[in-house]
Symmetry: D2
């Protein structure tokens, strides 16, 4: 299975302005950390919804890679997000993903998102990834 | 109710790098158009999921403003997205939002997202916005 | 493709106490009508959430049958419901389903639910059905 | 806060044919157990989707009562379910709910559903309940 360095290297090459660090991956999950920049904020001085959604999507992608290897063409099919609390505009976002199922063609996971240093989640996501045929050797 | 120019002016001031045009707003809905840049793509050369989610979120925000005025502190509470087809990486994304309910404290709407020039939706979103007390005069 | 009578016959055999009528099916959608009984109510005298979810699920199943034939082993993979207004406890529920995509292995549709005789939807559903391999001849 | 007996008594009076037992409630969550009857099955001999959705909805309702007391008019506003594995048609369904947020007017929780005796969840739900004003003394 790929290392943290392998996955970070892939993501940095695949996405422009990628600035997320992988804290842990494996055992059916992943933890990542994203620095918050001015472009990530919304009125009220908090982190924007799309920033949280993007971070959760990355956490699912990374957790899946930890189970089946780096499969660039895995694609999100469904994502559901509940916004729970106002995130701090001056703290990084930490996303903890736990996979609920990794099937032959579909994986489902949940992600809890936190403002770093605070134990109450700011958002909760459930998402599904479609795994392309032939993705696994 | 605010004009297209009013809402675009607000959004340009509130978000960094905002490059979405409002095509129409009012009558319980909105249509917006977002140019796709290199930073919006993902592996496979298609538009990234977070870009589609962000565009849908903006369409909901704009449609709501068309009903209750510009209320910056309206916040998304839930969003559910289904990815339906691979969007073109070289076409703008057009989002058509129709509000399903505008209550006292909660609004719900659906958004169909298209690659400009193609009639089959690339994604479908349902989202809820919480309207702060005192938002309406 | 199956007729309304074919599908109603299948559903009556497959589900206990099935009492839903198919009003229309085909052209990428379906309309069904469910009588409301005492067992379908909840505190407040309105139709219970699970009754609305079950009706939407049936509408999706029927609409899919109209596209690919009666495929009993098609199964729901994801369903998202927003409750919009208090349904009348004394009116039937009418569900109008429109399919957004019918792919090789996954179909996605949306359903608007109404208290019969009222134009404002009481709930809105988006759901996905997994189509088993070999389902189509 | 209400006891298990208080909540079961309320639910038995409020819903027809209610046959769910509360295993535990409090500490921001609830565990309930529902016997599966013939009417709860679907083609393939597994538990129907609407049965799982109804059980999850009850688990959320019970968990909320454990936090704010028995508030009959609390109503579901959004529910999202992912079906993960085929439930056994001959085992009870156990639902474990954990509340993610209990705000002034909105509560959000997640529910994992199991076929009794099996550690892999058959479905996962996230739902929101609207809490009526004046619900709390």
């Amino acid at each position: 299975m790929p290392t943290i360095a392998d996955i970070e290297s892939f993501l940095s090459g695949a996405f422009t302005n990628f600035d997320t660090k992988i804290v842990a991956v494996g055992d059916g999950g992943a933890t990542i950390r994203r620095e918050i920049r001015a472009a990530d904020l919304r009125p009220g001085g908090t982190v924007s919804g799309p920033t949280l959604m993007a971070t959760a999507d990355t956490a699912l992608y990374v957790a899946l890679f930890g189970e089946i290897g780096i499969v660039p063409m895995a694609v999100t099919t469904n994502m559901n997000i509940n916004f729970l609390r106002k995130p701090s505009g001056s703290a990084a976002i930490v996303a903890i993903c736990k996979l609920l199922k990794v099937g032959r063609s579909l994986a489902v996971g949940e992600v809890s998102l936190y403002s770093e240093g605070n134990d109450d989640p700011v958002a909760h996501v459930v998402g599904s990834y479609s795994i392309p045929p032939d993705a696994r050797k």
